[in-house]
């Protein structure tokens, strides 16, 4: 809620209330968020950030719950962000990932936050990037981000992760087709969950066949793992493969690249935020309507007006008669 500003020191100390408040602040954006992120950013880079994506119902939340517990079993901590879509009509959302994360979320070494997509493509990846920054700075060893593998913004979020895990489940028919459309390229680890159900072998075979289609062998071949998340089977193996992937990124210099990309996302969104503020200020300017009329009449050009908006100097109707 409102009240005292979030103390970066408390976030860095992993104080739960402060982490929670900080997530709210950075999700909202604006100057307070930028200042907080700036303080936290130098303290990031420790966490292994893992993106988990796949169709609804394949068992992502159950997997994340189990992975967080498996990490705890190894003495490590985990922060979780789960993204669910907002209604495009009302902006509201029902965030239900917590239902399948009941076990891990009561562990003092785990912190889970639900994030609504709020419709805006750029805004979502900014909010996600900022949330990852907070959890990383708070000292979590793993940061797990769950998204429904659907739109462009989800792919953008996955680009923020060091390792991307694409989850499938047998019997969800069009799955393999769905991942062909863009997600195959970003997968570092494939997980076929619900291996207790018939058809898991087929999914694994189809995936393997698809990976073999690659023209030349990639430097990293995504392993294909099978799990039964509901029974917590196969989860340690995932953590091992993720650690192996991180070592690969480290050795090949790709880890630094991903970090640059994450920072770029934060900067890019700070730019959009600044532009949005300037535009809002310009629209409040008493001369705004006249400036627009002048553009319509051709006595002023749109890009000149845009430059003036970006300078933030006001006086929109200056020089118009």
């Amino acid at each position: 809620m409102t009240g005292a500003p979030v103390l970066a020191d408390d976030v860095l100390a992993g104080q739960r209330r402060a982490v929670s408040r900080a997530l709210t602040v950075v999700e909202r954006g604006g100057p307070e968020a930028e200042a907080l992120l700036q303080t936290l950013l130098p303290h990031t880079g420790h966490a292994h950030v893992v993106g988990i994506t796949g169709a609804p119902g394949v068992g992502k939340s159950t997997l994340v719950d189990g992975l967080a517990l498996a990490a705890r079993g190894q003495g490590q901590t985990a922060g979780i962000i789960a993204v669910d879509p907002s209604s495009p009509f009302t902006g509201g959302a029902i965030l239900g990932d917590r239902i399948r994360m009941q076990d891990a979320t009561m562990d003092p070494g785990v912190f889970m936050r639900s994030l609504a997509s709020r419709g805006q493509t750029g805004g979502l990846s900014r909010a996600a990037a900022a949330s990852l920054t907070v959890l990383d700075a708070a000292g979590f060893d793993w940061v797990l981000v769950e998204t429904v593998g659907a739109g462009q913004s989800e792919i953008e979020i996955m680009a923020l992760a060091e390792s991307v895990m694409v989850v499938l489940a047998p019997g969800l028919g069009d799955d393999i087709q769905a991942i062909k459309a863009g997600i195959l390229e970003i997968a570092d680890v494939f997980v076929v969950n619900k291996a207790d159900r018939p058809g898991a072998d087929t999914s694994v075979r189809e995936l393997r066949a698809m990976l073999r289609l690659a023209a030349e062998p990639p430097p990293w071949t995504p392993p294909i793992l099978t799990t039964v998340a509901a029974e917590r089977r196969g989860l340690e193996r995932i953590l091992e493969e993720l650690a192996r992937h991180r070592a690969f990124l480290e050795e090949t210099g790709r880890r630094a690249e991903r970090r640059t990309h994450q920072v770029e996302t934060l900067v890019r969104q700070a730019v959009w935020d600044a532009v949005a503020r300037r535009l809002a200020a310009a629209r409040e300017d008493p001369g705004w309507a006249r400036a627009l009329t002048a553009v319509a009449a051709g006595t002023r050009d749109a890009s000149g007006l845009a430059d003036q908006v970006l300078r933030g100097a006001g006086g929109m109707a200056d020089g118009i008669h």
Binding site: T2, S86, G92, L95
Partner: protein
Amino acid sequence: MRDGGERVIRVLVAKPGLDGHDRGAKVIARALRDAGMEVVYTGLHQTPEQVAEAALQEDVQVVALSILSGAHPTLVPRIARLLRENGQGDVLLLLGGIVPEQDVPSMLEAGVSRVFGPGTDTRDIVRYIQERVGDS
């Protein structure tokens, strides 16, 4: 939009205790979503500790409890106390479901801001929340 402007209202809808009646909670969750709020729903059978921990991690402004089992006299004061202990004594705590008239004063005393019984029009609930936490 996400530019530091308006604040979206976040609500935790929780079903504490062994109560399996979840229709009301789902009706409420949908109504609040349709009113533009972000609703964290945690499912059935929550302990007071789980409810408070979820409220903490999700940084909600509203905790909406739905209880039809008659267990409110034990569950609600514990949840209210845990919220205060976590520094969230200022969240709007609402209770709905089957709460006999004579229990209402003790619920309000425990920290509940209002009790909503069967037949409540969800629009009244939306308005009540918006008036209290909208624009904060």
